[in-house]
């Protein structure tokens, strides 16, 4: 048997953790290098995983789960829980996004985290294992374990290295997510007992859950996922968590953890409860549209840049949800791509905010002004990311948003073009708040003394941001390979819908 790549990608970070455990806390740079190397190796292996996934389809991209491993794990009475992992077109991109973002985050902490570096890196790598695990798990029980596991490192990342109100934010984040997960756990147990299996593919194949019960199960799963996404009005934990989390935490939170929610909807709600998904589509779409407009409006009124970006996530994730529940190829593929896009551009925005915060120790927009003149490279990169975030054609955001809106506009499941029409207003509002931020921070005269002496970003920071920019352009100009990866899987998923 050759090496099981999926498992390898999932647990490689743990090797780094093991090494870190034996290192002295004072060797900060060595610790950073070990963590960085671990995450880079993980990323490299995930590229191998991608290549193998593509090769597995024999010429075409496979629609099924590939690189699968299924080993009995826990035996309980009559049924069996498996360690069952694998990747398909729905998850492979998210796995790559995770392994791609983690090295960048570690790089971004180089000078930002000086306190308890060892613990920080250990938690971060643990978090990576948890996140990748969520995306590759194919057994409901295993999924739940990974799902809950991610909470713990994130809790500590916010709670130890966070801002002034970190304990409040960390506890709120933890409790909020836990509350949703409980309902999901109940639904998982019900499914396991009733259908005699926890395996997702088997559950899909079995089907046959009556529609009214589907509806309840759908809602129970949705409770966990909607909180994670977060869908309006369950977003209250988000600004707290984002504002208080350290930069790298915010990046991962926005870039990956939120995607766990949307991925959950995609992987479980759509495929396990197809009838309920169709029935609920207009409601979810409605909430998504409210989230889009509401998030955009609330973003506009923020003074704190990080909070602005946090609320913009509510708006962006609204687009993703709208796309997923359009339940047609354009919507769903656009939605998946938008998950990646949001990870890239919002991740980049958080990194950018982190860089200026490191220099000025404030995130109040009014404290800046004219930064483009003082920090030209930083200004240019921010401009590109801002434009990507507001969906300028040629950059990644547009491709996703356009596909989503196009899908939602003609969606039979949603049933009315009004949803997409209103959501398109979000495109205007995105420009309003993003440009306000850019203008307040980067344009105008340099009228504050502190800003006149700011240093432009250094090589390390440029290296942190450039990979994101490459993908921002790539997806914007040539998204075909990305769509090609997910298309067969999405088609298969949609074929299962009534």
């Amino acid at each position: 048997m050759d090496i099981d790549l999926t498992t390898l990608v999932t647990f490689l970070p743990l090797i780094g953790v093991l090494v870190l455990l034996f290192m002295k806390g004072e060797q900060k740079n060595a610790i950073r290098w070990v963590a960085l190397l671990t995450s880079l190796v993980t990323f490299a292996v995930s590229i191998v995983l991608l290549v193998n996934f593509i090769a597995a389809g024999n010429g075409a991209i496979s629609a099924d789960i590939e690189l699968e491993t299924k080993v009995p794990w826990i035996s309980l009475g009559g049924w069996q829980i498996y360690y069952h992992v694998g990747v398909d077109g729905l998850s492979i991109l998210l796995v790559l996004l995770t392994t791609f973002l983690v090295p960048l985050c570690i790089l971004s902490t180089w000078s930002a985290v000086e306190d308890r570096v060892k613990d920080f890196m250990i938690f971060f790598l643990l978090l990576e294992t948890g996140m990748v695990g969520v995306f590759v798990a194919l057994d409901l029980f295993l999924f739940y374990v990974f799902w809950e596991f991610t909470l713990v490192p994130m809790y500590f990342l916010i709670g130890i290295w966070g801002g002034p109100r970190r304990m409040y934010a960390a506890i709120k984040f933890f409790l909020y997510t836990m509350a949703g997960s409980i309902l999901m756990l109940l639904a998982i147990l019900w499914l396991g007992i009733q259908q005699q299996t926890f395996s997702v593919p088997e559950l899909i194949a079995k089907g046959g859950i009556p529609e009214n019960i589907q509806l309840w199960l759908f809602l129970a799963f949705a409770a966990a996922f909607a909180i994670k996404v977060p869908m309006w009005p369950l977003h209250s934990w988000l600004p707290d968590a984002h504002v208080e989390a350290p930069t790298a935490g915010s990046v991962i939170l926005a870039g990956v953890l939120l995607k766990m929610g949307t991925y959950g909807f995609l992987r479980f709600n759509l495929s396990l409860f197809p009838e309920a998904a169709v029935r609920m589509a207009p409601w979810i779409a409605g909430l998504a549209v409210v989230g889009i407009i509401y998030g955009a409006a609330v973003s506009y009124a923020q003074q704190d840049v990080k909070k602005l970006v946090a609320y913009s996530s509510v708006s962006h994730l609204g687009f993703v949800m709208l796309g997923l529940f359009a339940l047609n190829p354009q919507g769903v593929q656009g939605g998946i791509l938008q998950m990646i896009n949001h990870g890239l551009s919002t991740g980049a925005l958080f990194l950018i905010v982190g860089m200026i915060y490191e220099r000025r120790h404030t995130r109040d927009m009014d404290a800046f002004g004219g930064l483009w003149k003082v920090m030209p490279i930083y200004g240019l990169i921010t401009l590109i990311v801002t434009l990507s975030s507001m969906g300028l054609p040629g950059l990644n955001g547009f491709v996703g948003e356009f596909s989503i809106l196009l899908g939602a506009f003609g969606s039979e499941a949603i049933g009315s073009p009004w949803f997409a029409g209103l959501a398109a207003l979000g495109v205007i509002l995105a420009a309003v708040y993003m440009l306000k931020m850019f203008q307040k921070m980067f344009l105008g005269p340099v009228d504050k003394e502190e800003n006149k002496v700011l240093k432009d970003i250094n090589w390390r920071e440029i290296i942190t941001l450039v990979p994101l920019l490459i993908f921002i352009f790539w997806i914007g100009l040539y998204p075909k390979p990305f769509f090609a990866l997910m298309a067969p899987a999405v088609e298969k998923l949609l074929a299962g819908l009534p």
């Binding site: 009124a301 004219g370 356009f402 506009f409 306000k436 344009l443 075909k480 088609e491």
Partner: protein, 731 residues
């Protein structure tokens, strides 16, 4: 059509991607190596890139002359999802090549002009490092504009549409740390972008509708299917065209979204000339012309477009009368002229609209560039004054200590003596804009007026009045700037611009003079050229015009018909224009001189102020549209956003609901459980247990003597007992 077919067509069609990639190459060179290049090298690199696109456009045009059918050159697959297929393909037809020629030609001239203009501008603003940035943005703009005009489907057009909007944003805010309160320019850029976004929203919705009803964004497919779809779902096509109109009003600065264009004058003058006069703002006109198949199917939508165009033309023309900033006058003039074009394409007179688009690019580009020359002449004058203590004192006495505005026409006057070339080209531009025979503007404007007379009398009236105002405000401007006595010291010491600026001016002046040759009566070269693309739509209009005009008789037999030129219309509008010029001349020379006798305090800055009274105030303040929008929309949005953010999301949802109700409720519950319930009952039991345990432990602890031997004894005891048990079992 795939590439092999293209080669079979022959010609230079396969060169078309170069129109996008040459400017991209130029900007990349400037971006990467610009740091080590001189200003001249940077400017000429950019100009060369732009000039090369013009050459490519000319080659395409020659190819098209032999093969006038549209050719599509596929380039790459952009978005393919399910039934959605969005290639990036280049469409070469007479319409798109016309636009390419305008963009490439006028663009190159303005690039060359900018080499000189920006050289002084960056020094005037004390930041020479931005010279390079300007040309990078400028080349980017050319590339984006080329994407727009060469698109073969609506979505690629949208890509260019947004791209030029971005360049517009960047270039309006080019001096982002200058302007009113230091932030004025940046705010103007933001306003332009956001207003355009509102238009883009309309465009997007129109695109969604298209996809739903046509299943494609391709021009050919939509043109072909349009009649069938219009028959099956007229409301959908109506909605499509109306939403597209919203997009047009944004980009082409029509009512109600035109407010951004005057503010956009914050950008350097070449930007105003290229983007906000000659090319980008005409994209809306191009879009309507592109969608001729859709518009000609829904008369109601056409009517709306025409009305919007007509009303905008008149409204903007009246506002232009009340402006004192030299560039603002031109800006409102641009809005007004765009109104002419939009009205024309709205009525179905696509050729006339496109014709005016081309000539307007010439003379408005010319006017803006000359105004830039004037402004820099004034700046040079100001510079001169600054270095001469006597003059400086004199200027202080006349104008007070405040900042001198080189764009205010009230400070100019008499410049024709100091800036001869600029004066003459400005005059040509003004006359062309005013529609004086035989300059370019005469032919194109006349054609619009002629067709509107037949197709839409209301719009004809609106446009004719607008034309009168046009001639008037241009006279006013020319007189205020170039005639009379200098009204300030800088004006008295203004200097002519260098050759790198005046040569493009002369070229444009020549084009403004001869532009009418494109579509002379009897020949109709331009009409035939575009006819290959606009085909049936144009013929339909022609038929309608002839039918309406003639009733029964033949068009060519009437005395006033000169091969498509209606002498009645032409004479009437020419007379009107001359009247307006005469009126303007009289008012701003004679009347102005009479007013000079009044004491300073009572002397109005404009004779019209006294004649029109409050009406002038309305013009000057642009009908208070900005203020109305601010009060009705912007401030309300800010209120709503603040209310949602502060009251709803934070105070209510975050603090009250989560912290008070949820967290507080839970805490309350735990208190009830903890205090009365827990302390009373559970604790009672627990405490009892605890006390018992404590006592027991107190006894037990005595066992822990700490003596090792004691513990050993215990172990030993254990051994004895266990062995004893085993022995007992044996017995």
């Amino acid at each position: 059509m795939n590439l092999s077919e293209v080669t079979s067509v022959g010609g230079f069609f396969s060169l078309v991607p170069l129109v996008v990639f040459l400017p991209v190459l130029g900007l990349l060179i400037n971006m990467i190596f610009g740091g080590r290049m001189s200003e001249k090298a940077i400017g000429w690199t950019a100009s060369l890139a732009s000039g090369a696109t013009f050459v490519v456009a000319v080659l395409l045009a020659t190819s098209l002359a032999g093969h006038p059918e549209a050719v599509t050159i596929p380039f790459l697959d952009w978005i393919n999802i399910g039934t959605l297929e969005l290639p990036w393909a280049f469409r070469v037809d007479t319409l798109s090549v016309t636009m390419m020629l305008v963009v490439g030609g006028v663009g190159t001239l303005i690039h060359i002009y900018a080499i000189g203009y920006m050289h002084e501008d960056v020094r005037h603003h004390n930041d020479p490092s931005r010279y390079r940035r300007f040309f990078v943005f400028f080349n980017l703009f050319i590339a984006m504009m080329m994407i727009l005009v060469s698109a073969d489907n609506y979505l690629m057009l949208f890509v260019g549409w947004e791209g030029v909007g971005l360049c517009s944003y960047l270039l309006i805010g080019f001096w982002y740390d200058k302007g009113k309160d230091g932030i004025g320019n940046a705010l103007a850029g933001k306003k332009a972008f956001i207003t355009n976004r509102i238009g883009d929203f309309g465009f997007l919705i129109a695109a969604f509708l298209m996809f739903q009803y046509f299943g494609s964004f391709n021009f050919d497919v939509i043109n072909e299917m349009a009649p069938a779809v219009a028959a099956a779902a007229p409301a959908a096509v109506m909605a499509m065209t109306m939403f597209m109109l919203l997009g047009v009003t944004g980009k082409s600065a029509q009512l109600p979204l035109f407010v951004w264009l005057p503010d956009a004058m914050a950008g350097p003058t070449p930007v105003s000339a290229l983007i906000h006069a000659a090319t980008m703002v005409t994209a809306g006109v191009y879009l309507v012309a592109r969608s001729f198949a859709l518009y000609s199917l829904v008369p109601a939508a056409q009517n709306w477009v025409a009305i919007v165009g007509g009303v905008t033309a008149l409204l903007a023309a009246t506002i232009a009368v009340g402006q004192f900033d030299i560039k603002k006058v031109l800006a409102y003039s641009t809005v007004s002229q765009l109104g002419f074009m939009v009205a024309a394409v709205g009525m179905g007179a696509f050729t006339a609209g496109m014709f005016h688009l081309v000539t307007h690019a010439f003379f408005k580009g010319l006017l803006f560039l000359s105004s830039g020359s004037v402004i820099q002449g004034m700046e040079r004058g100001e510079h001169h004054v600054e270095h001469d203590p006597n003059l400086k004192r004199k200027m202080k006495q006349e104008h007070g200590a405040g900042h001198f505005d080189p764009q205010d026409m009230r400070t100019m006057g008499g410049l024709r003596k100091r800036m001869k070339i600029t004066f003459w080209v400005y005059l040509i531009g003004s006359l062309a804009l005013g529609g004086i025979f035989p300059l370019a503007g005469f032919w194109s404007k006349d054609e619009i007026l002629l067709e509107s007379m037949h197709l839409h009398p209301t719009v004809y009236v609106l446009l004719t009045i607008a034309a009168f105002f046009t001639a008037f405000y241009m006279t006013r401007q020319v007189v205020m700037v170039f005639f009379g006595e200098p009204k300030s010291e800088p004006a008295a010491h203004a200097q002519e611009s260098p050759a790198v600026m005046t040569v493009p001016l002369l070229v444009l002046a020549g084009l403004s003079t001869l532009g009418g040759l494109l579509n002379l009566p009897y020949l109709h070269t331009f009409k035939e050229w575009l006819g290959h693309t606009l085909g049936e739509a144009e013929h339909a209009v022609e038929g309608a015009v002839e039918g309406l005009a003639e009733g029964a008789a033949h068009a060519s037999t009437a005395w006033y018909d000169l091969g498509g030129l209606d002498l009645r219309v032409a004479l009437f509008s020419t007379v009107l224009a001359l009247l307006a010029i005469a009126l303007g001349w009289w008012m701003y020379t004679r009347r102005m001189e009479e007013l000079q006798s009044l004491p300073l305090a009572k002397r109005p800055d404009d004779p019209l102020r006294k004649i029109l009274g409050p009406v002038f105030k309305v013009f000057e303040n642009k009908y208070w549209l900005d203020e109305i929008y601010k009060a009705l929309l912007l401030d309300r949005y800010v209120d709503v956003a603040n209310f949602l953010a502060q009251k709803v999301d934070w105070d209510f949802w975050h603090d009250w609901f989560h912290d008070k109700v949820l967290a507080g409720g839970f805490r309350g519950l735990t208190w009830v459980l903890a205090k009365p319930f827990d302390l009373g009952i559970i604790d009672g039991i627990a405490n009892g247990l605890a006390t018992g345990m404590q006592g027991l432990a107190g006894q037990m602890r005595r066992l822990q003597t700490g003596f090792v031997r004691n513990y050993a004894l215990a172990v030993f005891l254990g051994v004895v007992v266990i062995l004893g048990y085993l022995v007992l079992r044996m017995i």
